[in-house]
């Protein structure tokens, strides 16, 4: 009954509700990861050498590959929005498929990394586990969960694009894109913090990868 009244009007800020809420949610997400980074900074400073040794055991080339995969998928995500806004369902589907593949690629590389950590006994509860690896699994684990969380609606949109009408909501894709770029951005912070910040003293001695 309300649609006849003047209650349902354009958003006052001219930003769609979904997009606005996503920005607010991303502010929240930022504080979530800030909690991790804050404790990371404190504990890294009190366990400087141990964190360096841990960091030296990670494989930065694999992480670099992942960085490019994720940035690439952010690009294809932007292409999705571009094409859907212009009503090109086919190209939308193509780029959405590529974005999903990017997500999968990221997770596969992550799996390779994790399984090598398992073999080296670096998981929590295994014999070589250290505080650094607690952070490693915490931060990359939550990041990977965010990747999975983004891929679920992507898969939904992808399969909906096969229906007769195609997928018709560029706004929702844009909102999801915001989230996806955020996940990408978090990786851009996690990557140097965990993989690259190796003190010189440790880097020479401990790098056996």
């Amino acid at each position: 009954m309300s649609s006849a009244l003047n209650l349902s009007h354009e958003p006052v800020t001219r930003v769609r509700h979904g997009k606005f809420a996503m920005w607010a949610f991303l502010a929240s997400e930022l504080m979530f990861f800030a909690g991790f980074f804050g404790t990371f900074i404190v504990l890294r400073n009190t366990n400087y050498a141990a964190f360096g040794e841990g960091s030296a055991q990670l494989s930065w080339p694999l992480a670099l590959v992942n960085t490019f995969i994720l940035i690439g998928s952010s690009l294809t995500m932007a292409m999705c929005i571009y094409h859907l806004e212009r009503g090109n369902n086919k190209l939308f589907r193509l780029f959405m498929g590529l974005t999903i593949m990017g997500g999968f690629g990221f997770l596969i590389v992550k799996y390779l990394e994790y399984s090598s950590k398992w073999e080296h006994g670096l998981f929590p509860g295994q014999e070589h586990h250290t505080l650094f690896f607690s952070f490693y699994f915490l931060m990359t684990g939550f990041h990977a969960l965010h990747v999975v969380g983004g891929m679920i609606p992507m898969a939904y949109m992808f399969f909906r694009s096969y229906t007769k009408r195609g997928y018709k909501h560029p706004g929702k894709v844009e909102t999801l894109g915001l989230y996806w770029h955020f996940v990408d951005l978090m990786w851009i912070f996690i990557f140097p913090a965990l993989y690259l910040m190796i003190p010189y003293a440790v880097a020479g001695a401990g790098a056996h990868h």
């Binding site: 009954m1 309300s2 006849a4 009244l5 209650l7 769609r16 504080m31 404790t39 586990h129």
Partner: protein, 616 residues
């Protein structure tokens, strides 16, 4: 998704039809209507209020009569709670569980869901004149995370170690439960999962509130035309969006410590020399925890400050004194709330210089708080006061908040805190703020909006009975706790009689317990009033309190879509007793002169002054 204006007659007919087709479980269970969700929050919170209150009475019994059988229910308590089956004497372990669960339930499942969930959902769309939240389905999920979270926390009963025992603050190393093997689900593990879920619910709700307030205000409503309730909820939502995730991060790390035996918060050589432990810092958790949980104190009281401002203005028939100052005071409290967390940790081993900083920032919070109290008194000053149940509770809020606030400033000073830290003085303070403040505010809100919520009037006589009993027994319960605290009574102690110096306080403990039991049973007035009036209450008129804000423009018992007429806002929310106008109120939606006279304080003419008191 956006509710763009496409009201062609066809879509209108379609949506209309659609509403009637909703099956019962979409109407009453998985409803996306903000009013239904609000009632769901109310129901679940009142249920948990009952559990949390019962736990508090167990605690009180043990403190007053240590080692004696709990009357009535003692013989039927589960065997794991009591020293021997049927003895009715609770064990020290269960006492620790009671303290933890009382605090956790009251904070995470009663006050936050009532303040933010119930009032946020009910008030925001109605008071800004819109049909629903910006994202109704997200809103539904924000409620439906709460009951599972509550059940998960309560499921601690079925674990080997019982409920969580580390207090509602859950400090490690105790909360890490490292004496248990890895992958053991203890009550503490479930506590961590549960609070994480509740936090997620509160983030989802708050994201929605922020979007709704900024995007869906009725035509003509500027930000400074919003009632203070909406302002307070809006600012609170921003706090919840920014604060809650930090707690979630801390909980995730503590969960790993607890479940997988990592050592984020466990220092070197804590339990064994085993290499799994060490390197972490227990105090770090306290920093992370209080970074959220201090703002959470304001999350629990700011919405009620807004509500009380509205109730005071309506029943004094006067504009809120200093409307803009009120808004900025709320914002100031919210901002300062984020930089005072260290005052919980004066005794945790913090650099004294840092302690001084936190002490100063904490004391500064008294400034915006005093502005609010001053303006409330300014609102009441020479008003035509009507002592309805809502008004009485609002007045209690103001006066109890003054007591709780003053003891807060007192103990914010680090040297004082060193003396009273972890004593009953702190318990007295937190209950003056959270019960005397928040809960009286919640009662005021329930009495005020019940007519719009259920379309029926509450019984005023019962409401007043509820208020007087609650107010008196509340003070009898919590005021003597100050004395206990200064006498050195610890905050978490199973049997005070183990110390000779506490034996002299036994009489006060007994007195408090009797008062607390009366206080608990006084709440039956409220519960029965709510239930009775739902069925037998007088039918509520559209605007029973002659208030100005937009929710009173809605039908008596608004359905889906809220309003049955166009809403355009012409003036601010507090145009009471405008000179030269016949009625003493001037609704925001009433067509006419578009004025915003927030700064205009109208005094009641002299001839009305005799009516100021005894208006009921």
């Amino acid at each position: 998704m956006s509710t763009a204006t496409l009201p062609s007659t066809e879509t209108e007919a379609h949506t209309h039809e659609h509403h009637h087709e909703l099956p019962w479980y979409r109407k009453y269970v998985f409803s996306t209507d903000h009013k239904v969700i609000s009632k769901q929050f109310m129901l679940s919170s009142l249920f948990f209020l009952f559990i949390g209150g019962a736990f508090a009475l167990f605690i009180r019994w043990q403190l007053a009569y240590p080692g004696t059988k709990i009357p009535l229910v003692g013989s039927i308590l589960p065997a794991t709670w009591v020293t021997e089956p049927g003895s009715g004497i609770i064990t020290p372990e269960f006492y620790a569980q009671l303290l933890t669960m009382h605090g956790s339930i009251m904070i995470f499942f009663v006050v936050i869901p009532l303040a933010l969930g119930m009032f946020g959902n009910f008030c925001i769309p109605l008071m800004i004149g819109t049909d629903d939240m910006a994202l109704p389905r997200l809103n539904m999920w924000s409620f439906w995370l709460v009951p599972p979270a509550g059940l998960i926390m309560m499921a601690g009963f079925f674990t080997e170690t019982g409920y969580a025992t580390a207090g509602w603050t859950s400090y490690p190393p105790l909360s890490a439960s490292i004496q248990l093997p890895t992958f053991t689900i203890s009550g503490q593990t479930l506590w961590l999962i549960s609070v994480f879920l509740v936090g997620f619910s509160s983030i989802m709700g708050s994201v929605n509130y922020v979007t709704t307030v900024l995007n869906k205000r009725a035509k003509g409503m500027k930000l400074f035309d919003m009632p203070l309730t909406v302002w307070a909820l809006f600012i609170t939502a921003i706090m919840a969006v920014l604060g809650t995730p930090v707690l979630a991060a801390g909980l995730a790390m503590l969960f790993m410590d607890n479940f997988l035996h990592t050592s984020f918060f466990l220092p070197d050589n804590l339990v064994t020399n085993s290499k799994y432990f060490g390197g972490g810092q227990p105090v770090l958790f306290q920093h992370v925890f209080w970074f959220y949980s201090h703002p959470a104190v304001y999350i629990m009281i700011l919405p009620l400050m807004g509500i009380v401002s509205d109730v005071l203005a309506t029943f004094s028939r006067k504009p809120v004194y200093g409307y803009k100052a009120m808004v900025f005071a709320i914002a100031g409290i919210a901002f300062l709330g984020f930089i005072v967390w260290g005052h919980h940790m004066f005794q945790s081993g913090m650099n004294p210089l840092l302690g001084t900083t936190f002490m100063l920032s904490t004391i500064v919070i008294a400034v915006p708080s005093s502005i609010k109290v001053f303006n409330w008194l300014g609102t009441l000053w020479r008003g035509n006061i009507k002592f309805t149940s809502a008004m009485l509770n609002a007045l209690a809020f103001v006066s109890m908040f003054i007591i709780g606030g003053l003891s807060g400033v007192f103990m914010a000073s680090a040297p004082v805190d060193i003396y009273i830290h972890d004593t009953y003085f702190i318990v007295a303070h937190i209950h003056y703020v959270l019960f005397g403040g928040s809960l009286f505010g919640i009662f005021a809100g329930i009495y005020y909006w019940y007519p719009k919520m259920f379309g029926k009037m509450l019984n005023e006589a019962w409401g007043r009975k509820h208020f007087y009993w609650t107010f008196v027994t509340f003070n009898l319960t919590f005021f003597p706790m100050h004395i206990l605290g200064v006498g050195g009574h610890m905050r978490r102690i199973y049997d005070p009689n183990v110390y000779d110096f506490l034996k002299g306080l036994g009489g006060i403990n007994e007195f408090i317990t009797i008062a607390a039991i009366t206080l608990g049973f006084s709440q039956l007035f409220l519960i029965s009033n709510i239930l009775w009036s739902m069925k037998f209450g007088k039918k509520a008129p559209r605007n029973p309190w002659h208030a100005n804000t937009l929710e009173w423009a809605a039908p008596e018992h608004p359905g889906h879509g809220n309003f049955d007429m166009d809403i355009t806002v012409y003036r601010g929310p507090y145009e009471f007793s405008v000179p030269g106008r016949e009625l003493d109120y001037w609704p925001q939606w009433e067509q006419g002169e578009a004025i915003s006279a927030h700064h205009n304080t109208v005094a009641v003419p002299i001839e009305n002054e005799t009516r100021t008191f005894g208006a009921h």
